[in-house]
């Protein structure tokens, strides 16, 4: 059957939205279906995100707006899947579009109907903490911003119809069934959180001051029911002592909850505790946990900060009962400390860190799409490709396949898009329409007519800055013909307002005073472009990140500063001019650095899409880190997978493999790189062009100096042990083996978790135990981090008789050789001393970055490293495989320690992100670049020395003689040349000297 160049994405949370954006950008038609009435999913409900404490709404909102306005994405809300037929490449999907009773084309989202509605319903977005009208929108910044009538609550009184000036309320709108033809399907329905049953142990539902973590998230949120104040539901007081109980409904083998670990709760609990304390300093959080599973990039550092900077108290215990004081509504918690003492402690509020369940409609979806679910009712996935369901052509991303956090979800979202790219690459650009923009309004020579939009950003600005005063001030400035305020200037409705105002007031410069241009400038530029203004006729005044948030207790000064910043922006705006973006060709070839599993998967997927690929490996052989791994914890045969992959890569016509290679140089820029490598035993030089770069250079095992490794033959590393059990029967004669976890991880030198060592140790321990049941195995750990479904194997290991003993970082085990034996001295956290006589000690060594390699490559590519010398992605949450430098991507262990499956996901994700570039014939370059005025240039050539991009050369001009000129395709617009030019001949568009002088001068 003929393949179709369209894709169905089910679920429009952050995962589904990312998949849709990737595929839309790569030239596919995307049908994005959402079951609720707006997109954004759970992330839109969150206050902040870990580990950076980024405001969730701030970072997700631009993405949602982009999704909502993307030319190739057809977004439908309130949908239900009815029937799916067909096969990979050509599916037919019948979809029920449930009516909103509001005409989406007419609704302006003004909200008059919601305010007039006499019915109050429970607000599910605010987790039942507040009330909502039957005619409502999910949250103020919702995309699409369309009100909908909830028929379950609506009494059909007709009031809203009466008040709607747009005549958008249409009670007779009917459900609609549509049939979609798509080539691939991505499922991203997310999760539902665990809801404690009636009569639960924790008194949830009975005691008012016991809330779930997602309810608490809304309590924390500035746009939540309590407007960012942390209050007790029982009496509205600020609680001082707040207890967080972890693993509610997770790691629960009693049948009340789920047996697996929900992966994200340890971190979100720490985050909620930190943010609660940050919001209200009197709050002293206590977290009751089993293990602290901070296994992701920079997670451990966050936990340490929570404890040291925010005074979060951790108690390792599961509470045994909660009772409410009927008078004060305080909660009395009873728990046993590690040393066996029973303690009763009073708390003013209790937060239940509830786990992640499969979505409620998982079975329905599985049935409709014909995919299998796993034992926990999550989507069953391929053992090595976590986004591949049991049906070809149907992919999954995010929490529907296993509980996971936002960056992993976003990675998988791109990974699923990557797989779709591979499946449907020949059908790109077959079903899409070009975005039609109105012609640009000619503004040159006209007097500036400036419009200033000042954002309240909820309370983020409005709470600390007198916004109305700033608006009044802006109005008084010369050339400002309009100044206005908005609650959220970034929301979809405000974009419409801005466009309307541009028209109404004939604006030819637009200023938004809100957050940072680093995240929001493109959004507003797009908006003014849609209104017919050149993108560059836009300015931002950063009055949030660099004003309201940093002067929270200085209302007057912050207001004054905001006014100054607005005036400076106005002064600049008066001088800005429209700019052209030049178009650049794209070389549809790729460079993949690193020939491990990650690099090979990426290379193979590029090659399968007919993109010629250059794969560079520094070793003699392909395979990388995985060569030391025999199986995965879940039983996947790594060696078989690896040799198959190597075979495919080596024989693929589109892949050029360079082994024993060293990169000499990488020149160029997005779409147009030119690189050279020396490779092979002869160090042959090869030169090639390519459009993108994927960094998949991996990492290495930590080489221990501690625990007598290197001096005692019976002390080996986990990977050496894995080799022993997989290739010999040697352990049969070992009576007792001790494994030590966190060797070279989570310490001062390497303050991060290596993520896979716990699983590795348990995997090898189980294999060893099966081989030699009489061998005793003891695992010494700090926290067992068998997150997600790996928890099952932890339990299995315990059931097999493997002994787990905990130690503290301050009291590491000691090894004393005694003859052929090794005596291991352990001091437990209760200060009990345990002596074990073992035959062998296995060190679970961590993963460390290849410092020198990474630094060198980082310099070649102009990409940064983090403190631990792993590569630093563009954004920890939402751009996990992108670098800030366009056209360069990162995947696998080079990014941070992770499992093979996660590395493969990242490889696919990098492919998808790269396809958004490679799929195009040309891309638009930045317009803010340098230009030299030949009339002023003296041709001294100093700028040539200053340019790091070799973008300047001297030419002979017919009129001016020897002058320098800038190659606008190579220029990045840094301005180093301009700052040094002796004749002031060089200026930088968008940051011209005239504009900056205007900002400096005219101070009141």
């Amino acid at each position: 059957m003929e393949k179709v160049g369209a894709v169905l994405v089910v679920g429009a949370g952050i995962g589904g939205s990312q998949t849709a954006l990737d595929l839309g950008d790569a030239g596919f038609k995307v049908y994005l279906l959402e079951s609720t009435t707006s997109i954004g999913g759970v992330m839109a409900q969150l206050d902040k995100t870990f580990p950076t404490n980024d405001c969730a709404m701030c970072i997700v909102s631009p993405k949602l707006v982009e999704t909502g306005r993307h030319q190739n994405i057809d977004l439908s809300i309130n949908c239900k899947i009815l029937e799916v037929t067909g096969e990979a490449g050509n599916f037919t999907v019948k979809v029920l579009k449930k009516t909103l009773y509001v005409n989406m084309d007419k609704c302006t989202g003004c909200g008059v109907c919601g305010r007039a509605c006499p019915v109050e319903a429970i607000d599910m977005f605010n987790e039942k903490l507040s009330k909502f009208a039957a005619t409502s929108v999910k949250y103020p910044q919702a995309v699409p911003l369309v009100y909908a009538i909830n028929k379950d609550y609506c009494i059909g009184c007709g009031i809203c119809k009466g008040v709607c000036k747009a005549n958008a309320v249409e009670y007779d709108l009917e459900d609609e069934i549509v049939e979609l033809k798509v080539g691939g399907i991505v499922l991203a329905p997310g999760f539902d959180e665990y809801s404690p049953p009636e009569d639960n142990l924790y008194g949830y539902g009975k005691y008012k001051n016991v809330v779930t973590s997602i309810e608490f998230e809304r309590i924390l949120s500035a746009s939540g029911p309590y407007a960012g104040k942390v209050l007790r539901p029982s009496d509205g007081d600020i609680p001082e002592k707040v207890a967080f109980l972890q693993c509610i409904g997770s790691r629960d083998f009693t049948g009340n909850g789920q047996p697996y670990c929900s992966s994200v709760c340890c971190m979100y609990t720490a985050k909620e505790a930190v943010i609660a304390h940050e919001h209200m300093h009197q709050i002293r959080p206590t977290i009751f946990s089993m293990d602290i599973r901070a296994f992701g990039k920079d997670f451990d550092k966050y936990i340490i900060r929570a404890q040291e900077e925010y005074g979060v108290r951790y108690i390792r215990s599961r509470i045994s009962s909660i009772n409410e004081d009927p008078e004060t509504k305080d909660l009395l918690l009873k728990y046993e400390t590690e040393d066996g003492k029973i303690i009763q402690e009073n708390f003013e509020m209790v937060v239940l860190s509830v786990g992640l369940n499969p979505p409620d409609d998982a079975k329905y979806l599985a049935d409709k799409f014909g995919i299998e679910l796993n034992e926990y009712n999550f989507a069953k996935t391929d053992i090595f490709n976590p986004v591949q369901t049991t049906i070809p052509g149907i992919f999954v991303c995010g929490a529907f396949s296993s509980p996971k956090d936002i960056p992993e979800t976003v990675t998988q979202a791109s990974a699923a898009a990557g797989c779709v790219n591979t499946l449907l690459h020949e059908k790109r650009d077959t079903l899409i329409t070009e975005k039609t923009l109105p012609p640009e309004i000619f503004v040159a020579g006209q007097p500036p007519r400036i419009g200033v939009f000042v954002c309240h950003c909820g309370v983020n600005i409005g709470g600390y800055v007198d916004v109305p005063q700033v608006v009044k001030y802006a109005k008084s400035l010369p050339n400002v013909v309009l100044a206005d305020q908005n609650l959220y200037t970034c929301s979809a409705d405000t974009q419409t307002i801005i466009k309307d105002k541009i028209k109404e007031y004939s604006l030819n410069r637009v200023i938004v005073a809100s957050c940072t241009p680093r995240t929001h400038e493109p959004l507003f530029q797009e908006t003014i472009r849609e209104a017919g203004l050149n993108r560059y006729l836009f300015q931002m005044a950063n009055i949030r990140d660099q004003c309201s948030w940093v002067h929270m207790n200085q209302y007057k000064e912050a207001t004054e500063k905001s006014m100054d910043l607005v005036r400076m922006a106005v002064n600049k705006a008066r001088n800005i001019q429209p700019l052209e973006r030049i178009k650049l060709g794209v070389t549809p070839k790729t460079l993949v650095i690193g020939g491990g599993i990650t690099g090979m998967v990426a290379a193979l997927n590029f090659a399968n899409q007919n993109f010629e690929t250059f794969l560079v490996e520094k070793e003699k052989e392909l395979g990388g880190f995985a060569r030391n791994i025999y199986t995965t914890l879940e039983g996947g045969n790594v060696q078989a997978f690896l040799s198959d992959l190597i075979e495919k890569v080596n024989t693929h016509a589109n892949i050029h493999v360079f082994t024993e290679a060293k990169i000499e140089i990488i020149n160029g820029y997005i779409g147009n790189f030119k690189s050279a490598v020396f490779h092979g035993p002869e160090k042959t030089r090869a030169e090639f062009e390519h459009g993108v770069v994927v960094v998949a250079t991996g990492a290495k095992e930590y080489e221990p100096n501690e625990f007598l490794y290197k001096t005692n033959d019976n002390v080996i590393t986990q990977s050496e042990f894995e080799k022993v059990i997989n290739t010999t029967d040697d352990i049969g004669n070992k009576k007792l083996i001790v494994m030590i976890q966190c060797v070279g991880s989570r310490n001062e030198e390497h303050p991060y978790c290596s993520k896979m060592c716990c699983a590795e140790a348990i995997k090898n321990a189980i294999v060893a135990k099966n081989q030699s049941p009489s061998t005793e195995i003891v695992i010494l750990f700090r926290d067992i981090r068998t997150y997600g479904f790996k928890e099952k194997y932890y339990r299995m290991a315990r059931e097999a008789g493997i002994v787990f003993i905990r130690y503290d970082e301050d009291n590491p085990p000691e090894i004393v050789p005694e003859g052929s034996k090794l005596r291991v001295n352990i001091v437990t956290p209760n200060k009990d001393t345990i002596l074990i006589n073992s035959d062998m000690v296995v060190l679970s060594v961590g993963i460390v970055a290849q410092k020198e390699n990474n630094e060198e490559l980082g310099k070649l590519l102009k990409v940064p490293l983090n403190d631990d010398n792993f590569f630093l992605e563009a954004h920890v949450k939402l751009r996990p495989v992108d670098f800030a430098t366009e056209g360069v991507f990162v995947a696998g262990l080079a990014h941070c320690p992770k499992t093979i499956e996660d590395s493969i996901s990242q490889a696919n994700a990098a492919v998808s992100r790269a396809c958004t570039i490679l799929s195009k014939d040309e891309i638009e370059a930045e317009g803010k670049i340098g230009a030299i005025d030949p009339a002023r240039c003296s041709g001294c050539g100093m700028c040539i020395d200053n340019c790091a991009y070799n973008a300047i050369e001297l030419i002979e001009d017919r009129r001016f003689g020897t002058v320098a000129i800038i190659n606008s395709a190579l220029c990045k617009g840094c301005g180093a040349c301009s700052g040094n030019c002796r004749c002031a001949a060089i200026d930088i568009a968008g940051f011209s000297s005239e504009q900056i002088y205007a900002m400096i001068t005219g101070r009141l």
């Binding site: 006499p118 009494i155 309590y226 104040k229 209050l231 009496d235 509205g236 600020i238 609680p239």
Partner: protein
Amino acid sequence: MTFEPKILGFLCNWCSYAGADLAGVSRIQYPPNMRVIRVMCSGRVDPVFIFKALLTGIDGVFVLGCHPGDCHYLEGNYEAEKKFIMVQKFLKIVDFDKRIRLDWVSASEGARFAQVVTEFIESIREQGPSPLSGENIDQELFNNLKAMENSVSSDRIRALVGRQRRITEVENEYGEKVPIDEYNAIFDGAIHDEFVRQRILLSLSTKVLSVKDLAAELKLDPSEILENMLTLKSRGDIDYQSIDGNTPLYMRI
């Protein structure tokens, strides 16, 4: 001195007022305690009128209209009944609902007019003077009734009562009839909530208070007060004023 109730009567022009006239023409005697306000239809009796009257210290309010089906304006008396029931529901909260009455008297029922008026006067006489009359009025009751007056002025309550007949008896916008039980559940909830909210606003209009202060004043659970305060806050009626220790204080805007 014996108690002589003061009663206000709203009489519709076409039936009850004519009935009262007939009682006069026929010289039928009845107690002199009622003062009459003529309205064109009982449907004209705005719930606010009743509360305004009660707040002045009037001992009872009587609304009289045409018999069902006889309305000069076709259905005005049906609307009157819905509004009256709503007022009763409010007054029931403070056990004050027996001080108002609705009845039907036609233009030909002079005797019946005298009879129902006499009965109502007697009923009020038994209940005694209104706690809102005289020198020392019951301030709490006054506040409660004032809050109710504000509630019945609100869009929400007026929308619900105004559309009741159409959506429960004829058909709503979807061409369906809303079951009366379902409607009443929503209506009763709305009456209770709006009353509490108006009561909160009244208290906050003179002083700054916490959730717990208000709970004590209104003799309600603090969590319920909090919930209603959130709605008022989102409507922009109140805001945080300051924090006293760990207790946020609220003010009216």
